[in-house]
């Protein structure tokens, strides 16, 4: 099997002077080439930290304390800064949630794209110019020549996200990490950007790791879905199974929370009560139990492990385990310790 990316029991902690807070706990998943995986959850569940760790951009305080990340055959968690840099922007590119602030305000668009080209395609400043314009055209920017000479502030949010995508495509990446790429955009523009990402994927064959809390985007884009809650993977399935038969109460809650636009009348979306627990204050037992409608005694005391309940569908929930016939414990999902 052609595995592009593998996260193996990854644990990430943020260290301050006095304490260590575990933001990502024993997260494992694998990605094939050309595949789109959606990493889903509310803010604070660890999905952005996971994606930044793949880029090696956790910052000064974030450390991988346990487990490893393998990319294209190498263990990149043991890479030094120089090796990591060769990967960034070339093999793995990333686009972010805030297109308005993600571009350098005092550099021309063409220059910012050109920088990637010079870095990763080893071309000269002069050679980079027409390629940058070409990339802008490819991401659907009209008047690409003029835009290349422009500064970011004169572009709309949607245009800036297109520029970000053009920049990401400059290195012909094998993996594109898209962290909430459409959350800050208007719905009309959101649809354009998603379509563009699909188009780019079709042309280049890259894999996309889509980090989002918007299940509409997930349903549109993903092949497989990984649902995260409080730093752990709580459910993993292909997109059709997940929406048809969500087994974790958290996944069910996320789906029910989306307001319906079709159908008549005012219909209430069902919220998930409460909020994501803070890293310093993880509940005992199943981390979701304080917000779970169907929590029972066992959930409050014992932490469930991630178990396969059929095909490629895994769930971290006592109720789901008992209802399926022979749950099979996944390697690497081990007994889960509480902090």
């Amino acid at each position: 099997m052609a595995r592009l990316l593998e996260l193996d029991r990854l644990r990430i902690a943020f260290r301050t002077e006095h304490e260590e807070a575990v933001a990502v706990d024993e997260v494992s998943f694998a990605m094939r080439r050309g595949e789109t995986i959606a990493l889903v959850g509310e803010s604070g569940c660890g999905k952005s930290v996971t994606s930044l760790s793949i880029m090696g951009l956790l910052g000064a305080n974030g450390v991988v304390t346990h487990g490893e990340i393998r990319f294209d055959g190498s263990v990149i968690t043991s890479f030094g800064e120089t090796e990591m840099r060769r990967l960034r922007g070339k093999e793995i590119a990333m686009i972010f949630q805030e297109p308005m602030t993600s571009l350098n305000p005092v550099m021309k668009i063409g220059e910012q794209i050109g920088e990637c080209l010079r870095l990763h395609r080893k071309c000269s400043r002069k050679e980079a110019k027409p390629i940058a314009v070409e990339l802008l055209k490819k991401v659907g920017i009209a008047r690409a020549e003029a835009v290349a000479k422009d500064y970011p502030h004169s572009l709309s949010g949607g245009m800036r996200q297109r520029v970000m995508i053009a920049m990401a495509m400059a290195g012909n990446p094998k993996l594109l990490i898209a962290d909430e790429p459409t959350t800050a955009l208007d719905v009309t523009i959101q649809a354009q950007i998603l379509q563009l990402m699909k188009q780019m994927q079709k042309d280049s064959g890259m894999a996309i790791l889509l980090v989002t809390h918007d299940l509409g985007v997930v349903a549109e884009m993903a092949d497989r879905v990984i649902v995260m809650y409080a730093g752990q993977v709580v459910e993993e399935a292909d997109v059709f199974t997940l929406f048809r038969d969500p087994r974790h109460p958290y996944t069910q809650g996320l789906i029910q929370a989306v307001p319906a636009v079709d159908g008549a009348g005012r219909k209430r979306a069902q919220p998930i009560p409460g909020t994501v627990p803070s890293l310093r204050d993880m509940p005992e037992g199943c981390r979701f139990h304080p917000r779970c409608q169907s929590a029972h005694d066992r959930c409050r005391l014992e932490s469930p492990s991630l178990q396969r309940i059929g095909g490629h569908h895994s769930v971290r929930c006592w109720a789901a385990h008992s209802s399926s016939l022979a749950p099979e414990e996944l390697p690497g999902s081990g007994p889960v310790m509480n902090l």
């Binding site: 880029m55 951009l57 800064e81 840099r85 060769r86 990967l87 960034r88 922007g89 070339k90 590119a93 990333m94 972010f96 805030e98 602030t101 993600s102 571009l103 350098n104 305000p105 005092v106 550099m107 920088e115 990637c116 870095l119 990763h120 500064y151 502030h153 970000m164 920049m167 290195g171």
Partner: protein, 316 residues
């Protein structure tokens, strides 16, 4: 941009007028006048009165001002009361050295402040940062004249490495090398004061930029950390510094009075001091005029530079 500059210059005219009126009034409010300052008791009272009459000091204030203003509008700054030399020549002779000292000090100060500020910000809360911050505090808290005297004593008198004052060696050739040698001490003193004040601005400004999303983008491109800081962060961080530096320039000229005294630098500062002591109104008014020009022009220059550095700002 052109129309903007023209508009700003238009606005400057009434401001300019106001400044001259105010400074004329304040100057005349100060006790004493040029004639009183001639403290030779042998001069008879009648002569003094005659002199007063001739200098126009007995005219009403508005007439004196009108007289001065009409001269200025014709390009005539008047004559010194004490040396009878034309004010424009006196100032013209002195302004060169002052500008030289100010420009060199500013350059030197920024050459220290920017790298130190950047390093301090990038290595924030490290031992190096604390050390640099400590030095910076010293730079701010030691008064320039004190540092100047200390340096004169050590480098000039004890070690005899550097000249202690003046701009050229008496009887020397007065060449560029000689001037440069004379500049080292005053530039060090003034530059250190500037650096001390600016390091903290640069540090704060870089720190703010370091948290911006576009730096994460720059890192995600695979740029080296050095390129991230120097290319992406610095250009953005220096934009607010432009304004602070612009505001520094008029202060620099004001501060030259003390420093030029300490180093006997033949600049405007010394001229100012002499003119104040002898209540030489025409010279003082001329200097005021220059100061007003400097303030208005540096403000304009700051705004223009701002727009040049930050594409988000446009004047039209």
């Amino acid at each position: 941009m052109g129309t903007y500059i023209v508009r700003r210059l238009f606005i400057a005219v009434p401001v300019f007028f106001g400044i001259t009126v105010l400074s004329f009034l304040i100057m005349n409010l100060a006790p004493g006048n040029p004639v009183d300052m001639l403290i030779n008791p042998n001069i008879p009272k009648e002569l003094l009165e005659l002199k007063r009459e001739r200098l126009g000091l007995n005219d009403p204030l508005y007439a004196q001002y009108a007289n001065w203003l009409s001269g200025v509008l014709q390009g005539d700054l008047g004559y010194s009361f004490s040396s009878y030399a034309p004010v424009s020549r006196l100032i013209g002779e002195r302004i060169g050295p002052t500008l030289l000292l100010a420009a060199a000090s500013l350059l030197f100060g920024l050459l220290i402040a920017i790298p130190v500020g950047v390093i301090s910000a990038v290595k924030r809360n490290s031992k190096l940062d604390y050390f640099l911050t400590g030095i910076t505090f010293l730079g701010i808290s030691i008064p320039p004249f004190f540092l100047g005297l200390g340096l004169i004593y050590v480098a000039g008198i004890q070690l005899k490495w550097l000249p202690t004052g003046g701009m050229t060696t008496l009887g020397g050739d007065g060449g560029a090398g000689d001037v440069l040698l004379h500049m080292i001490l005053p530039v060090t003193v003034v530059g250190a004061a500037i650096a001390g004040k600016k390091v903290r601005y640069v540090r704060a400004s870089v720190l703010e930029v370091l948290g911006q999303d576009y730096l994460r983008t720059a890192r995600a491109k695979g740029l080296r950390e050095l390129a991230v800081t120097n290319k992406h962060a610095l250009r953005n961080a220096l934009i607010p510094v432009i304004a602070v530096v612009g505001a520094e320039i008029p202060l620099l000229l004001g501060g030259s009075i003390v420093i030029e005294q300490v180093f006997q630098w033949p600049g405007i500062g010394q001229l100012t001091m002499e003119a104040i002591l002898s209540r030489d109104y025409p010279i003082l008014m001329g200097l005021n005029l220059i100061a007003a020009c400097v303030v208005l022009l540096t403000n304009l220059l700051t705004d223009v530079l701002y727009a040049a550095a930050d594409p988000r700002i446009t004047y039209g």
